[in-house]
């Protein structure tokens, strides 16, 4: 088997496992896994920029929240159908990403991190400022009747699980295709040695901008999907915390791997879930994990596996 076949087989096996789990898992965990899959889509979007292109953003909450609010607000205030609203969310994320990308890519390194952080912070404050429409911190609920697409009720737990799985599978397929293409190789080249990539004739700005657009749009899809599936849109999703989370998930799971973001999200979600039963200071886990990962395990879970066992892992 070629490396390519092996990796498709492995990823399809993961999807089949997730499909089967739906029939086995108790309701509580079924709900969790659905959430994790949507958040993993967010993390996979983040990974395109951070893991594959080497652009560390501290502002991805902006793209996630834009997708979510673009979807939620258009259902709430324009009264359009959920499917159209979902598309609205994605288009909104694409537009915001394009603006931020063109501006932020004029900087690099630490300045890039701070610029993305600042844009995301203004996005969060904008949600609060337009509280009349967004209902600020409190957020708003999308009613069950507004969550039916093609007569499939997304508020139903089983439907919701499969919808999340569908989006997750799409995202796996798209990113796998992307990173194994020549385009994906050039992104890695930009990450490894941007100057060299430029001297080989690649317009690295265009490649970086494309990576930002894809990354932000996938994050927007995740945000719109999360809001639609779980019926709630709130300012919490626009806070710095939701910019840090994807970084944490990707670091833990393995930056620059396709499945890493999923496993990172899975572990961190359950770790925080367990910790929050014990203490209100559950974010301590996230802090400790960030420090330990940067100190001792920069490759993350899948990165280590790739290094030690499966060198062909994309």
């Amino acid at each position: 088997m070629t490396a390519n076949t092996k990796s498709w087989a492995l990823h399809i096996a993961l999807l089949v496992t997730l499909f089967t789990l739906q029939f086995v898992l108790p309701a509580y965990h079924q709900g969790n896994i659905a959430r994790i899959m949507m958040l993993a889509v967010f993390a996979m979007g983040y990974n395109i920029m951070f893991g594959y292109t080497g652009l560390l953003s501290l502002g991805h909450a902006l793209f996630f929240a834009t997708g979510m609010y673009g979807m939620g607000l258009s259902i709430q205030h324009l009264g359009i159908s959920p499917a159209t609203a979902f598309v609205c969310g994605i288009v909104a994320a694409l537009l915001v990403t394009a603006t931020v990308g063109v501006l932020a890519l004029r900087t690099s390194g630490v300045a890039f991190m701070i610029v993305t952080l600042m844009f995301a912070q203004s996005g969060y404050l904008a949600v609060l400022f337009f509280g009349e429409y967004t209902r600020g911190d409190e957020g708003f609920v999308i009613k069950q009747a507004q969550r039916v697409i093609a007569s499939v009720d997304l508020a139903d737990a089983t439907n919701r699980y499969f919808a999340a799985l569908l989006l997750f599978a799409l995202c796996i397929a798209v990113t796998l295709k992307l990173v194994t293409s020549q385009f994906g190789h050039v992104l890695v080249a930009v990450r490894e040695n941007e100057e060299r990539a430029q001297m080989l004739g690649y317009d690295t700005f265009k490649y970086k901008l494309a990576a930002v657009l894809i990354s932000g749009t996938i994050s927007g899809v995740a945000g719109a999907g999360y809001g639609l599936l779980f019926g709630y849109v709130g300012a919490n999703f626009a806070t710095v915390q939701y910019s840090i989370y994807p970084l944490l998930w990707v670091l833990l799971g393995g930056a620059g791997t396709i499945m890493g973001p999923f496993f990172g999200t899975l572990f961190m979600f359950y770790l925080i879930d367990l910790a929050s039963d014990l203490t209100s200071a559950y974010m301590l886990i996230a802090g400790v994990a960030l420090v330990l990962l940067t100190l001792f395990a920069r490759n993350g879970l899948m990165g280590e596996i790739r290094k030690r066992v499966l060198p062909w892992l994309p």
């Binding site: 040695n193 100057e195 060299r196 001297m199 317009d203």
Partner: protein, 242 residues
């Protein structure tokens, strides 16, 4: 009929904080030759080739390539027109395999056929003798091999003009003979502009030599002419004694 110039510069200048790194250089490079650019340290050689390939922008003057002005073009567009550049300090993708390194260089000039693509990569690796190491990680190899990879990447671009910045630096004496033969085989397809300190190499393989000193052209001619030139000797001896 005069030889067709592949590359021409007119009045090319660039200063850094008041120091004229390259000053008013008029340079002509006919197609099909190996041209060496020599000069004492700090003479402006790397800055000059940086201006040619667009890594550094010119303060004034013009650069023409294949009879078209490229002075204002960004790096990637100049590369697309057929300029290849290898770095003085080895600059490869050290975490990627040799195959991937070269494939990144090939892509631009090839069509979509996977087989042709593979063949081009293999040819480039083979010509520098690294084909059997295609799947090694570039960063794990010796310095000499990394330099060869760098040249393979330059060749794989199939440039009209290949600029090599001190390619023999760090190579063992035994490797240099092979390197000379390699350059002579490349020049059948690409014109070569070579910055080089090793005068044995220059004297053996260069068709023409240009000497830069203090950012200006001091002399220009065949190896024999340059060898006999008193100004050049003075510049070199003066520097060496200082």
């Amino acid at each position: 009929m005069a030889a067709i110039n592949l590359l021409t510069t007119r009045g090319l200048s660039r200063s850094f904080g008041g120091i004229k790194a390259v000053h008013n250089v008029n340079f002509e490079l006919p197609a099909g030759e190996i041209h060496a650019l020599i000069g004492p340290n700090g003479a402006g050689k790397t800055t000059f080739v940086g201006l040619l390939c667009g890594r550094i922008s010119a303060d004034s003057g013009q650069v023409f390539f294949s009879n078209e002005e490229i002075t204002a073009l960004p790096v990637h567009k100049r590369i697309a027109r057929g300029i290849g550049y290898t770095f003085q300090i080895t600059s490869i993708f050290s975490k990627l395999s040799l195959y991937e390194n070269v494939s990144l260089a090939v892509h631009r000039s090839s069509g979509d056929k996977r087989r042709d693509f593979d063949i081009q990569i293999s040819e480039a690796l083979d010509s520098v003798g690294l084909l059997d190491r295609a799947y090694q990680i570039a960063g794990d190899m010796s310095y000499g091999h990394q330099r060869l990879l760098e040249i393979a990447m330059g060749m794989a671009q199939k440039p009209k003009l290949l600029i090599l910045d001190e390619p023999t630096q760090g190579l063992a004496q035994s490797e240099i003979a092979g390197f000379n033969a390699l350059l002579k085989s490349i020049v059948e397809r690409s014109t070569i502009l070579l910055i080089e300190h090793n005068m044995d190499v220059v004297m053996e393989i260069a068709d023409k030599i240009t000497v830069l000193d203090f950012g200006e052209i001091l002399a220009h001619g065949t190896p024999e002419e340059i060898h006999a030139n008193e100004d050049v000797q003075a510049a070199y001896l003066g520097k060496n004694n200082a």
